[in-house]
Amino acid sequence: MPPLPNPLPDAETQCRQLADLIRPHLHRRPALIGIFSGGAWIAERLKELLGLPEDIGLIDVSFYRDDFSEKGLRPQVKPTLIPFDVEGRHLILVDDVLYTGRTTRAALNELFDYGRPASVTLAVLADRGGRELPIGAAYCIWEVPLSDGETLELCKLDDGRLSWGLENA
Amino acid sequence: MNIEIRNGRVIDPKNGVDRDMSLFIGEGRVTGLGQAPASFAAERTIDASGCIVCPGLIDLSARLNSIEAELAAAVAGGVTSVVVPPDATPPLDEPELADRLIHRGKEIGMARVLPLGALTVGLRGEHLSELAGLKKAGCVAFSQAQVPLVDTEALLRALEYATTFGFAVWLQAQDYWLSRNGIAHEGEVASRLGLAGIPVAAETIAIATILQLVRDTGCRIHLTRLSSASGVALVSAARDEGLPITCDVGVHHLLLTEDDIGFFDPHARFSPPLRAQSDCQALSRAAASGLAAICSDHTPLGADDKLLPFGEASPGATGLEVLLPLTLKWAAVAGVDLPAALARITSAPADVLGLASGQLSLGSVADICIFDPGATWQLTPELLKSRGKNSPWTGCIMTGRVMVTLVDGRVVYEG
C-alpha cells in the first residue's frame, strides 16, 4: 500500500472540493441526508457551501445494521430526522468514509421505509477500499486504501473544524 | 462385638468429659473409659487419631420421606437417633402406624427412629388422637408439626389430656392468621422484594397463648424452631418463671438471615422464615446459653418442589448430613467451645426427650459418632446420601466430617 500523506489532508478543504463536485447537479433539487455522525457534519457544511434552503436530513442506521447478532445495539443511538418528504426526490446520502458498503446498504433500507425516492447518490470524503457489497460513491474526494487494522475517522475539533484521525488497532 | 476406639479425644458433654483416651464397647454398650474392662479382647479396633469421639447426635427433627435413604443419611451425618415429625402421609395418628415406622427403622438397622405422634387426628385440630395408645407404640411425644391448632379451646383440652398422662407436647409457635399469607420475614428484604411478610408477632402471640395454657394446665411443652429475638425473650422469661418449657432452634436459622434470600433463592425459604440479623444473633445467644437445643429440621425435597418461584417453593432444606459441620461453624462464629457446641446436639436433645441417651458413661448404649473436626469437604448433590439435595449450602466447603458412626455398638457407617 502507498504511504499515507503526512500530515493528513485538511477535511474542511475536502468539503469545499466535494461541494464543487455536486454544484453542477443542483438543478435536480437534491436533498442532503447525512449519516451520523461524520456524514451529518459534512452534510451541514455542504448545505452552507451550496446555499441550499432546505434543512438536511440526519440518519442513524443502528436499527438497520446487519451485525446486530455479533455486536448488539450501539450505546449511542440518535433519532433519525428526515424533515422532508422522500417520495420522488433526488437524494444525496453523505458519509465521511466509504469502506465495506454495509452502512450505505443499511441507510438505503432505512430511507426506503420512508418512501420511494427518484434516485439516491452517495457522496463521501474518503474511499478506503475493502468493499464487501456492490456499492459505489458518485462523489468522492480522496482515495486512500487502508489495511483492516487501521481506522480512519472524522472528528470535530473544539473550534468546530472538521479533522481526520487515523488509528492503528 | 467387642470394639476398642483408641487415640481419639473423647468428649461427653453430659458428664463433663473431655479427654484423650480409649473407649471400649461390648454387647452394645460402653464397657470401658480409658481402661479396658477385665478380660476384654477387642474383635475390632478403630483408630480415632485426630478425631473427636462423642455421643451419637440426636436430631430433634428429621423427615424420613424415603426411609432407607434418610436413615443412611442420618448415620453418614453422625446422627444416631432421629425424632420424626408426625406430618408424613398419612399423619401418624394411629398406634399401628407408629409400630410400623419403628419396626421398619429397626429392620434397616441404622439410626434409631423416635416418632412424634399427631396430637389430633389427621392433624386437623379437632379430635384428640389416642395419645396413650401412641405412647405405648413408641411415640416419644406429641405434636402438630407445622399445622397450627387454631381453636384455642381444643388446644387447651389437648394439653389437659396430655398432662393427665404426663406426656410432653411439641408445638410450633406460629399464629395461623398472621402467617397464612406470608412467605418471608416481614422486614426490609420482604419490603424491597415484594414478598408477603410473616411478622414476628405471629411467633410471639402464639408463644404467649401457649405459655398461658401451660400456666393453667402444667403441661410440659417443647417449642420447636424458634425464629425471633422476641420469641427467645418470652421463652427465657418463662424458664425464669419456672414453667416446664424447652425449645429448639433449626441449625440453618443460626447461620442464615433474610438477606440470604438474595435474588429470590428458593433454597432460603424456610418455615419459620429466616429473620433479621438481630433475630439470628438472639437465637445464637439462646443456643450458646443452653436455653435452646439445636436440630437440623431435615426436610428432603425434590427439584419439583424446590425449583419454583420463591412463594411457591416448599420450605426447608436437607439437614442430616450438615447438622454437625453447621453446628461447628456456628460454634466458631459464636465463640462457643467444642464440648458446649456438641452438647446442643447430644445431651440437650436427650434432656428434651427425657432419655438416658446422648452420653458416654459406663453402661450407656454405644451410640457413638467419631468425626474429624478439621476435615473439609464440598457439599455436592452426588455426595449426599439423602434424597433431598435441597440446600442453601450447595457448592460450599464444610468443615467437620464423620468418619465412623456406631449404633448399639455396631458400626453402621464408615466414611
Binding site: G72, L73 | S191, L193
Partner: protein, 319 residues
C-alpha cells in the same frame, strides 16, 4: 451480589428489575427509546432489528393491555410474536415453570416476556437459562408478583424526563397501594437511582410496606401534606380485592382521603404532571376532572411505553 441481569461486561442481558441497574444503563434505555419514538411516528413503523427473532409472551397472569404493548413493540422491531396464555395450557396439567421454559427454548425462542404472580419468577428463569448454557435467550420481566414491573418504571422515568428534564430538582409523590404494587417498587427504585432528591409515599398505614424509609422514601399519611409542592404525582390503581382483606373500609372513604381531586392537585406545583400506570378507577383513586385535565400525561405514557419496550428488547437481544 452480582445481578443476573447484567453480563460480565456490565451489559444488560435480561431486564428483571430496576434494582441493580446502573444509572448509565437506564440512560441508555431512555436515549434509545427516544429514537424509537421517531420510528413510531413514521408511516412504516418498522425497523429490522429483531427480524427473524421469536418473542414469546408468557403471561401467567392475565393482562391484555401489557401484553398488547409488548406485542406491538416486538412487531415494530420485525420480530415474530407468539402469545402463550399459560392459564389454559400445560401448567394446568402440572408442567413446572422450568419445564415450560425448556420446551419453548427447544422451539427456538429468543426472548421471553414473562408476567407471573410470584415475586422472583423471572429470576428463576434467568438462572435456569444460565445453568443450561442458553446465553442466547433473554428474559424481560413484565411484572412479577409485587416485586417489580421494570418496563413500567422505565417508561414512567421516560415520561418524567420528557416533561421535567432534570431529575435532580424534583419532588415526586407516589400515591396509593404501594404494599401490593410492583409498579410502585420499580418507580421508587428508578427515582432514587436517577437522583431524585425527594421521593414521597402517600397512603394509609395498611397499604404501605414497613421499612420504606430504608428505600430512601418519605412516608406521608396525610395527602394534603404529602402533595405540597410536588412536581410529579404518580397515582396507583386501587385493586378491589383490597376492600375485602380488612385493609380498607370502602372505596368511598379511600377516595375522600387519598383520591386525587382538583382541589388536592392544586396543592402541588402549578405545572405538576399527573401519571397513572392504568387502568384507572375513576372516582376511586382519581377524579375524572383530573384524569381528563391538562396536567394528566396518562395517554402519552402509553405511547412512551411502546418505545421504551422496543428499546429494552433491542438492547438485551443484542448483548
Amino acid at each position: 451480589m452480582h445481578s443476573p441481569q447484567l453480563n460480565r461486561n456490565g451489559e444488560l442481558i435480561h431486564l428483571l428489575s430496576i434494582e441493580g441497574l446502573p444509572p448509565h444503563v437506564i440512560a441508555q434505555i431512555l436515549d434509545t427509546a427516544e429514537s424509537f419514538m421517531e420510528v413510531s411516528a413514521r408511516d412504516v413503523k418498522k425497523v429490522p432489528v429483531l427480524r427473524g427473532k421469536s418473542v414469546f409472551n408468557l403471561f401467567f397472569e392475565n393482562s391484555t393491555r401489557t401484553r398488547t404493548t409488548f406485542e406491538i413493540a416486538a412487531k415494530r422491531l420485525s420480530a415474530d410474536v407468539i402469545n402463550l396464555d399459560i392459564n389454559r395450557s400445560s401448567t394446568a396439567k402440572g408442567e413446572t415453570l422450568l419445564d415450560t421454559i425448556d420446551n419453548l427454548c427447544a422451539m427456538h425462542a429468543d426472548l421471553f416476556v414473562v408476567r407471573h404472580a410470584s415475586s422472583g419468577a423471572p429470576y428463576l428463569i434467568a438462572e435456569h437459562l444460565q445453568r443450561i448454557g442458553r446465553d442466547d435467550v433473554h428474559v424481560i420481566n413484565a411484572g412479577d408478583g409485587r416485586h417489580a414491573h421494570p418496563t413500567q418504571g422505565l417508561l414512567d422515568m421516560y415520561t418524567i424526563r420528557h416533561y421535567k428534564k432534570d431529575f435532580t430538582q424534583l419532588r415526586v409523590a407516589v400515591v396509593g397501594d404501594i404494599l401490593h404494587s410492583r409498579v410502585a417498587r420499580s418507580d421508587i427504585q428508578a427515582l432514587t437511582t436517577l437522583g431524585v432528591p425527594e421521593v414521597r409515599a402517600i397512603g394509609p398505614e395498611t397499604l404501605l410496606p414497613k421499612h420504606l424509609d430504608k428505600l430512601g422514601v418519605q412516608v406521608f399519611h396525610d395527602m394534603n401534606e404529602g402533595l405540597k409542592d410536588c412536581d410529579v404525582i404518580i397515582m396507583l390503581r386501587l385493586q378491589n380485592e383490597r376492600m375485602t382483606g380488612a385493609l380498607l373500609p370502602s372505596a368511598g372513604e379511600y377516595f375522600r382521603h387519598y383520591g386525587l381531586t382538583p382541589q388536592k392537585l392544586a396543592l402541588a406545583k402549578p405545572d405538576a404532571i399527573v401519571m397513572h400506570p392504568g387502568p384507572m378507577n375513576r372516582g376511586v383513586e382519581i377524579h375524572s376532572e383530573v384524569a381528563d385535565g391538562p396536567q394528566a400525561v396518562i395517554l402519552p405514557q402509553v405511547t412512551f411505553g411502546i418505545a421504551v419496550r422496543m428499546a429494552v428488547m433491542s438492547i438485551v437481544a443484542g448483548n
